[in-house]
């Protein structure tokens, strides 16, 4: 178990700048969820930590060691790949013990450690099978066992749940969380699924366009997004972003501090903070029922506002409802820079 410090890490591929000036610290035993849309640089960052890519700029420290130029095998990091990267010609036991064999650990000790790792992730009964005989969830467990058998300083997980079906993903997410709580290992979990990031991470780091946008505890990233990008990316459905004109943002009354008077502003309102029953009238355009909750798509002039309500609220499409928002639930952004104010 070790901490990780990235200082000014950048990566260029010819003209394309995949990562710019990434400064990030991950504490010992922390699970950091690195989240961002496709092409945001999150996998590049993870590969740089693993040593599979060399940074064009900056440094990587694991614990007290500067590992920027250290080859992957000497970093004592383990990685779970999106594809699991299990060796198809080897049995589960051989896959799990692959790294131990490469490091010339004695057969007896390797066997013990393989069985212990398989026990932890619940794949003890699969040790004799080949990867093609396993389901997606089982392959994932084997990949996890292979990652933890070497007792690495750092666990890197690159979208490990993205190939699983929705039900299994929920189950494995909970198991991963439990595994982290049990092992207390430093983990970096890369995902494009912000819900996964919020539920799993002790802290969440949001990457966009190769730049670290915000890092903080999940509730902070969700409740107080640092800019428009984070506000729009984190949360399902995304935060409603409306231009502020004359003390109003769409149908909502907004209090603008005197210091911001005259600036072009945008107001962000989370769907669950849209209250029905008072305020301005809007037209119901679409009703999406998700079982325990309902999403209302509400038309206000040319814009659509999404409201999250209880399961029983199902106004007729085309009808009018009134909406408002409590002042404490409005986040203001600078319309030009996108920064939160």
């Amino acid at each position: 178990m070790a901490s990780l410090v990235l200082t000014g890490v950048g990566k260029r591929y010819g003209e394309v700048e995949a990562l710019r000036g990434l400064n990030l610290e991950v504490g010992e035993g922390e699970l950091l969820a690195l989240v961002g849309p496709s092409g945001s640089g999150k996998t590049t960052a993870l590969r740089i930590v693993a040593g599979l890519e060399q940074p064009s700029a900056g440094s990587v420290r694991i614990g007290a060691r500067d590992v920027t130029r250290v080859p992957p095998a000497a970093r004592n990091v383990s990685m779970v790949f999106q594809s699991y990267a299990l060796f198809p010609h080897l049995s589960v036991a051989e896959n799990v013990g692959f790294g131990l064999r490469a490091r010339r650990v004695s057969k007896g000790e390797a066997g013990q450690r393989v069985r212990a790792a398989a026990e932890i992730v619940g794949c003890s009964s699969l040790l004799e099978r080949k990867p093609h005989e396993l389901s997606g969830g089982e392959r994932q467990r084997v990949a996890l066992a292979r990652a933890l058998v070497r007792e690495p300083d750092l666990f890197l997980l690159d979208e490990p749940l993205s190939n699983l079906d929705a039900q299994l993903r929920v189950q494995m997410r909970a198991e991963l969380k439990r595994l982290h709580q049990r092992l207390e290992t430093t983990m970096i979990y890369v995902t494009h699924d912000q819900y996964e990031a919020l539920t799993l991470g002790d802290r969440v780091a949001v990457l966009g366009d190769g730049v670290l946008q915000q890092v903080g505890p999940p509730e902070e990233v969700y409740d107080r997004p640092i800019n428009r990008f984070v506000a729009a990316f984190v949360g399902t459905p995304a935060m409603n972003l409306l231009p502020v004109e004359g003390g109003r943002a769409g149908p909502f009354a907004v209090r603008v501090p005197a210091s911001l008077a005259g600036r072009a502003l945008e107001a962000g309102v989370r769907p669950e903070h849209v209250q029905l029953g008072t305020g301005d009238s809007v037209e119901v355009q679409l009703v999406e029922s998700a079982g325990s909750e309902t999403f209302l798509h509400l038309g206000w002039r040319e814009r659509t506002i999404v409201a999250r309500t209880g399961a029983g609220v199902r106004p007729a499409v085309g009808s009018s409802v009134t909406v408002s928002v409590a002042p404490g639930h409005v986040r203001l952004f600078d319309a030009e820079s996108g920064s939160a104010l």
Partner: protein
Amino acid sequence: MARPSLPGARRRPRPERGGWRHIPALALALVFCLPLVYMVAGSFRKAGLPPPRTPELLPSPIAFDNYERAFELVDLGRHLLNSIAVAAIAVPLTILFASWAGFAISRLPRRAAAALVGISLVALMVPATALLVPRFALFKTLGLTDTWIPLIAPSLLGTSPFYVLLYAWSFRRLPGDLFEASRLEGLGVLGTWWRVGMPLVRPVTVAVAVLAFVFTWSNFLDPLIYLFDPDKYTLPLGLRSLAQLDRQNFPLLLAGAVVATAPVILAFLYVQRFFLQEHRELG
């Protein structure tokens, strides 16, 4: 009326239809087998008789002593051992160097790999005969003529650029994550090639081994040019000696040809299961 099926009852697999589709393949196989059949049949024909006017499948009388006489006339036993020795060295070296080169190409960045593939393709198009004179001059200068080294030397370059490309293409098809996982787990380039790459391209290795074996085994030109001492001759040169007998003694040549062909066929029969095995593991 359709018969209702019991719940849970398993249906018997239907017999495979369309067996007639195999007829063209069987006809083609027959075309290729006929010369072999005539070669074996001819090798048992009594020597010294004029050649038959029509092909005969079963000669009468059957002369088993043709094989004995062929071995007496020419030192086929020694030539056979020489051929086995050359193939036993050249084929593993071909696999080693072709797979190394192919692995290197597959792991290089795309642009560098494309350049090397281009060079390999150009090399593939150079006719072997165009290099006969410079190669001979080179080996003569090095004092290596009348040794097996000129016969084995091409294997140090993978014998043919085609084999290198075959490996490069096969390694490229494997998921890159496997090689990266191997690196992270602590294996170097050679370890990754041997423990991850090679087991996953086993059918290609078998194909290259067979092709290289056939090439080495049937190589006539190189032994003819480089070998002067009859004790170092390989089987094709021994066969050439039998071919110089008069026409009535052609069964002796065919007996020698059977001796030369049998190892290739046996080798193919042994390795064909590797061709037929499915890539279930990669599924």
